[in-house]
Symmetry: none
DNA sequence: GATGAATGAGCGTTCATTCAT
DNA sequence: TATGAATGAACGCTCATTCAT
């Protein structure tokens, strides 16, 4: 039981790391099994097949990320504060789950995602969209489709994250503040 | 004669579309052959193997994109004009080559790229880096690593492009102007 | 456990028979798998690839044959007795391993043999060469290159063996004694 | 016409060299076509397929060799002289057709030979068998199956020939005389 | 429940053969 | 007649998945 939970968790962690680093298609079940220190067959006791595994992983982390963004959401603070909360959520989530956001980003349009995964991802987008739509009504956010703005924030942050992961730049406090400011300037109106 | 050119071109176009949509590893030679309406073996008359095919494609489009950015570059105009030139280059290139930029973005760090491909891609980055470094000296561009800013522009634009390709938003003149402005605001200093 | 050993052994036996009968290039993995009653993939659990399989087989039987020739070698008997020992070794080895010597003969110069295989085969030749060189010093063996004499014995015996395997002649005690005498007369001096 | 004859001849010569050096299965049609300086398709104007080509070649050279042995056969000379004639025939044939005898030897039991080829080869053996049977009646040839004796001569001579081809020993007059004597001693009775 | 040996579908690739030119 | 571009069957090999232990 406790063993089982651990095994399942080990499998998920190993799979996450490989999917993020090499992608779903370049990752083999033996690789995951080996890294998770379980038999290859054991993976199939916890996950029907490789696609179920990747969807489970995707849904889990999208939900976790969604919760991170939603928790203690400062609805009654300024729009800038709300943006800060969201951006900090990204940062914190990435710190806590090294591979998760990059995995989500590189696999969110993949051919093997099922309905549930796509819907889960939609829910995440909805939160960001709500924020932006509200801001646009107040004329504090640009009159561009929310999806486009999300793309800029998400895309920017995650390409940055990729560089940090690759060791090409260092994730200092200053850098992150600068990037947050940059993203905010990308999104807000400059009357 | 003309047939051969067409076959080679068909293979390249089919491969580009699949690589962009599913990635290199998830794309099989039979998929490409079928889509290009040639026999599987025919692909090997034009390309030594799958890796040569993907490198050929990568180098071709990185070079084409680089040329697009470099052509008629307004060196003596304002930084904003230069940015416009670069952004318009992206837009034009993407209009002319639907899958190319997305393919470049999703494969530029792939394990199967050869030296030439990597160097070719470095040349492209150098152009963008030069632009940003120059602007930073003039204190018109934020004091963030160029790679990070490139990530924001590239990432933002391409996530947007992905949405356009997916048909979720429409690529109107206004939208693109708005996104350009948004990217510019992400990158420039706001005294 | 015992199953695994058997599978490996079955694969080796099937491969040996095909390699001897049709040659390495004309033998396909599916042929071997089918004959050994294993899945094609199973072969790769035991042998890294087809070349490793053929080299394993080659080395195994060359060593076995070498040992057969060396065991209880009558160094202090007459040259004729030594020849008898070697010839009997060939006969016995061929009786115990139907296809092995023919396989060795037809593949000993093949392009796919690795260093170890070549060295192993050299060791076998060295034994025969030593015997002949010693005899030539005593002027009991013809003054022809040892390699040439080995070729005559080996070639003669194995062409004979081929006929026996093909069922065209029967391997009686008398026949073998006659052939031994014939080979000995081919090799020795007739003062 | 003359061109055609040449093309056909070129194809046969190139095929012979490759078959002798690498074997039938390791030889590709493009290899032959390239070496013969004809298009790959051209080969199929002269030979229905690869197997017909190899059978044509086999039959041609077996017949040629047979004729070499039969020509000017000294029926009324001594057995030893007849043997000399046969052995000289082998030598001469090998000098005139570098790859032919080795090709015949390495392919005479191949799975792809047709009925005609096998019969042709049988005819060649019959000549040698006749010689031996006659000698045995006179009690000048050992009482061993003719096929076995042929195997010794053929096997010995051709293993020797292989060494010469490989450059491991030189084909001097003396060597050949010595080998002939050796073969003769292998075959004759030593009352 | 956990394992990993075994499987075979399907991959990338080669090459005998065909056929439009 | 001669060609070589094109084909697809079949190769060697990998790996998701199964199942006896």
């Amino acid at each position: 039981m406790s063993t089982s939970v651990n095994k399942r968790e080990n499998i998920l962690q190993s799979a996450l790391a490989f999917f993020a680093e090499r992608g779903f298609d370049a990752t083999t079940i033996p690789m995951i099994a080996n890294d998770a220190k379980v038999g290859a067959g054991t993976i199939y006791r916890y996950f029907e097949n490789k696609e179920v595994l990747v969807n489970t992983l995707f849904q889990h982390y999208v939900e976790l990320f969604t919760n991170t963004l939603v928790e203690e959401y400062p609805s009654d603070h300024s729009l800038r504060d709300q943006f800060h909360h969201l951006f900090q959520g990204m940062v914190r989530f990435t710190n806590e789950h090294e591979h998760a956001l990059y995995f989500i980003k590189t696999h969110n349009a993949a051919y093997f995602l099922d309905e549930t995964s796509r819907k889960q991802f939609e829910k995440l987008l909805a939160i960001l969209r709500n924020f932006l739509d509200q801001g646009r009504e107040e004329e504090k956010i640009r009159d561009l489709p929310s999806t486009a703005l999300i793309a800029i924030i998400f895309g920017g942050f995650l390409e940055l994250h990729k560089l940090i992961r690759a060791g090409e730049i260092e994730a200092s406090e200053e850098l992150l503040e600068g990037v947050e400011e940059s993203c905010w300037d990308a999104v807000r109106t400059h009357k």
